[in-house]
Symmetry: C2
Subunit: 232 residues, 2 copies
DNA sequence: ATATTGCAAATTGGATCCAAAAAACAGATG
DNA sequence: CATCTGTTTTTTGGATCCAATTTGCAATAT
């Protein structure tokens, strides 16, 4: 009898493992902006040579999560407030369009899943899994649009600003507000009102962007202020 | 006397050179879809080891220009008609927005440059530099918007579909039509009518997308037809 | 004390070598 | 003849080694 082997998912390559680990660490904010990523150190952490580490860093650079200078190594990218603002404008353009395409095609099953995730938001007001849930929620809404390129673009944008969003969410009332807005967007989807869902999404993103930029401007001004006082 | 060294632009790394060369070859269509990219062969072409070649291929994969399978190497990406269509929708969303932001900020100098490039279109109906000119034209129009992330996103999308566009342009009346539409967009910019310029751009891209997808569907159907006849 | 110069250490980019996997091929078997 | 099987060849992923460059630091000069 032929036993179909179960190895559907290939054993991941070393560089893949490292790439995913670093990517998650950066997105979640465990690696802070400006932090240097030494090839040798990372290689030892994973018990591999520097070669797969370099491949992972190359990919991260291509995604804009780290920036490297020749012979000087890689550091976690720091986004200026202008860049954060631009990325939110970008999301505010793409995501409503995505949702508009998705709503007419969403199955009841997809709506149920989205509602389930929305419920999880309410029950878990701590921010540990917030980013994860946020992704899942948006993914559940956008999935039916069946636009892989759009989805990838949206995810890339999310990756870049996620760590900033997380900081802001816990420091302000952002979490409660996001929960309410998600609820409204989901309700519009359930009512099959694509236009309204898109409009709400646009405002949701614009609002989140504004308050994040605001938060960054203030906290950076303060930091620079104390820094200059300290150095003076 | 202090002589400021002149090496403003660092000597490019080997992987950078290879990356740019392969990228251009793929975008221009010199490397055709599905073509295998052997590390060893490329390494010998550039007189380097496989290491910088692998870095270049990793970057190309991250940009979606090649796709690799573990232990099986890299091939130039083939886009389905659905993917081409989606990328044009994406461009049709981003580029008008970009232009709308750009028009109010365009200097007379920028307009002059754009007009100069538009003139070059007319004088050089051959398609050799068409893609190049097309990029330059759009870049001249979008530059003033001062949105690097949008620009990068647009360029990435252009890179993916450029080689298909080029084929279609020479096979149909696309070149003449594009020239006319560019003229109209530029006129709207010169009249500082951002809304109209954006609308024309959207239709320009939508139209180009439709006719390209149409062209691809037909030429691929024919190819598969002859192929199956040949193999039968 | 501060700026400058000349090593030494740390770090990266690339070359060479080796192991693992896939593809190509040849012979055996139904 | 098609198919299976074992072997050889090709090709990729990763380890180790070396060269080029930057960085840290000490000694010196101003």
């Amino acid at each position: 009898m032929k036993v179909r082997s179960v190895d559907i998912g290939q054993m991941a390559s070393a560089s893949e493992v490292i790439f995913e680990a670093l990517r998650e660490a950066i997105v979640k904010g465990d690696l802070t902006e400006g932090e240097a990523l030494r090839q040798d150190r990372i290689a030892r952490m994973f018990n591999v040579s520097r070669i797969p580490v370099r491949e992972a860093l190359t990919r991260l650079e291509e995604q804009g999560l780290v920036s490297t200078q020749r012979y000087r190594g890689a550091v976690v990218t720091t986004l200026s407030t202008e860049e954060v603002s631009e990325i939110f404008e970008y999301r505010a353009l793409l995501e409503p369009e995505m949702l508009k395409a998705s709503v007419p095609r969403m199955t009841d099953e997809a709506l149920r899943r989205a509602r389930q995730i929305a419920a999880a938001f309410a029950s878990e007001p701590d921010s540990v899994h917030w980013g994860e849930l946020n992704r899942d929620f948006h993914y559940a809404l956008y999935e039916a649009a069946n636009r892989p390129y759009f989805l990838q673009a949206i995810n890339a944008a999310l990756d870049r600003v996620d760590r900033y969003s997380r900081i802001q969410l816990v420091m302000t009332d952002g979490m409660e507000r996001a929960r309410r807005e998600h609820e409204a967007i989901l309700a519009a989807c359930e009512a099959r009102d694509a236009t309204r869902a898109a409009e709400l999404t646009r405002e949701h993103i614009r609002g989140a962007g504004r308050s994040l930029v605001d938060f960054l401007v203030r906290s950076r001004a303060e930091r620079d202020g104390t820094a200059s006082r300290a150095s003076a």
